[in-house]
């Protein structure tokens, strides 16, 4: 799969512009008609939700994206919300800062290295790295440890596909995901707010779970810089901070990685960070959450509602201690 560099390859260069426009008009007309008909038949159908699926149309679109049975049909969060309300401390600790400070972040050229216990460790150019894989849309619930939540249409590569291709050796038990360290571009890294570079980790079987993806896009388009361009981890049954952004290294290791937040405040952040309403953060309860764009809070569910797919990974474990 080819992913255009936001600045110089536009979708219009991948598909002839006229075709693209006609196709878009057709799709728009078709979806309006479909939604209209459906809405007429089922008066309660949320027509707005359908209309929100599109991004703002500024970034290049990602073509040939497969849909997935793992996607939720819940109402998606507004692109404007999910791209202006970000925790990406490399670009500032205010929610609004990343969208401002990451504007000129350079995501090309971009190198990503596969290291550690694999058959063929290698450093790839980003576009080469993603080329062999088919992209899938995964509409997932997203739950931040701070109790806000969202529903996001990610586009990405199943992590399991990547793991299989790089052939981990028997020593590989965990994967460490390392974010770029570049204080010249990432003003937040000039202060020791957290230990840089940002590191996150998964157990190998967690990484292999069909739900785990490396996302390269959202809302039909390439990722905006503030959401972790060009490539980030998405693990929908864990708190959002597990999803390392702007990744430069994927390391296959033998022992459990110490992630950035574990180092920062051990009582608050554990290695697993599974969404769990029974385990409080020291400063707030995790029983409820509020989706961006919604007024009323919702009850938080175990594993963010993905228990059917992932509970087996933790069979026999005390999740109060392994938080």
């Amino acid at each position: 799969m080819l992913i255009g560099k936001p600045a110089d390859i536009r979708y219009s260069e991948i598909t002839p512009r006229a075709t693209y426009l006609r196709r878009r008009e057709f799709l728009q007309a078709a979806s309006v008609a479909a939604v209209g008909t459906a809405a007429a038949l089922v008066p309660s159908l949320p027509a707005v939700a359908e209309a929100q699926v599109q991004g703002p149309g500024v970034l290049p679109k990602l073509p040939n994206v497969k849909t997935s049975a793992l996607s939720t049909t819940e109402k998606q969060s507004a692109y404007a919300d999910f791209s202006t309300y970000n925790n990406f401390y490399e670009f500032g600790t205010d929610k609004a800062s990343p969208a401002i400070n990451a504007k000129r972040f350079r995501t090309r050229p971009w190198k990503i290295a596969i290291e550690g216990h694999v058959a063929k460790p290698a450093a790839f150019d980003f576009d080469e790295f993603v080329k062999p894989y088919a992209l899938e849309e995964r509409i997932y619930r997203h739950r931040c440890v701070e109790t806000w939540a969202a529903v996001v249409p990610w586009i990405g590569i199943p992590m399991a596909d990547i793991v299989k291709r790089v052939e981990p050796t028997s020593k590989a038990k965990f994967i460490e995901f390392v974010t770029l360290f570049d204080p010249a571009q990432m003003p937040g890294q000039r202060d020791e707010i957290l230990q840089w570079p940002y590191i996150e980790g998964l157990r190998l079987d967690e990484a292999m779970n069909p739900l785990t993806i490396l996302a390269v896009g959202m809302y039909g388009e390439v990722l905006p810089n503030q959401d972790g361009a060009p490539i980030r981890l998405v693990v929908p049954w864990k708190y959002g901070f597990k999803g390392g952004k702007s990744l430069v290294k994927i390391r296959f290791v033998e022992s459990m990685p110490r992630s950035t937040w574990m180092i920062k405040e051990p009582p608050a952040y554990g290695f697993y960070a599974n969404v769990n309403p029974m385990v409080d953060h020291p400063r707030w309860s995790q029983t409820r959450e509020r989706r961006l764009g919604e007024f009323l809070p919702r009850r938080t569910t175990m594993f963010n509602g993905y228990a059917d797919q992932v509970a087996k990974l933790y069979a026999g474990m005390d999740l109060r201690r392994n938080y």
């Binding site: 600790t93 957290l194 409080d280 400063r283 007024f295």
Partner: protein, 200 residues
């Protein structure tokens, strides 16, 4: 010293101090409260509460340093404005954050030190606000002075509350801690000076 007429200055500053509240109300009406309106309101009202609390504490040092005695009439105004923002902050916590869920709120107050301290701070500020009338000043006499010294405890409480609630970036609570230390330091220095002067 040529100073601005305090009555006009006080009214002008009071009007200015209420501008953030009006803007928040307008933004709420216009739907401009970010992707997470409740958190935004909670943070904004908390910020303004601490700003005006510190402003009220800055008045006495200004008076001492400049000898401009009338400025003291701004102190109560700033204190009450701080209380106003703190009260809105707490009301939002009761309503939009906790949805009147008394059990959860009680649990928060007991289990979460930043909330415990916030509540203590709010109770002190409430006591100060209700005893801020001329009637109360007359009735309480000397005890009024003693009671209102608790404003220092409240200010320390507000900074500790802020410090304890941040996840990683302590820049802003630390700034308030520095300002508060300077203000309290000034008072200690002044007391010490007064004592040595009276002795010599």
């Amino acid at each position: 010293m040529n100073t601005p007429p305090i009555g006009i200055l006080r009214r002008a500053l009071l009007a200015a101090a209420l501008v953030p509240a009006v803007m928040l109300a307008y933004d709420a009406y216009a739907g401009n409260l970010t992707a997470n309106p409740v958190e935004y309101l909670e943070n904004e009202t908390g910020d303004w509460a601490i700003i005006f609390l510190i402003a009220s504490l800055a008045i006495t040092p200004i008076r001492r340093l400049t000898g401009w005695n009338e400025v003291i009439r701004l102190r109560k105004m700033f204190g009450l404005v701080a209380y106003f923002y703190a009260a809105v902050h707490v009301v939002i916590w009761f309503t939009l954050v906790s949805f009147f869920d008394v059990a959860t709120m009680a649990e928060d107050i007991v289990k979460r030190p930043f909330i415990t301290v916030g509540m203590g701070t709010f109770l002190i500020l409430t006591a100060l606000a209700v005893t801020s009338t001329t009637g109360a000043i007359r009735r309480l006499g000397r005890r009024w002075q003693q009671l209102h010294r608790a404003v220092y405890v409240a200010a320390i409480g507000a900074v500790v509350h802020f410090w304890w609630l941040v996840k990683a970036d302590i820049t802003r609570p630390r700034q308030w801690a520095v300002v508060l230390t300077l203000l309290l330091g000034f008072r200690l220095w002044w007391m010490w000076r007064a004592r040595t002067l009276s002795r010599s």
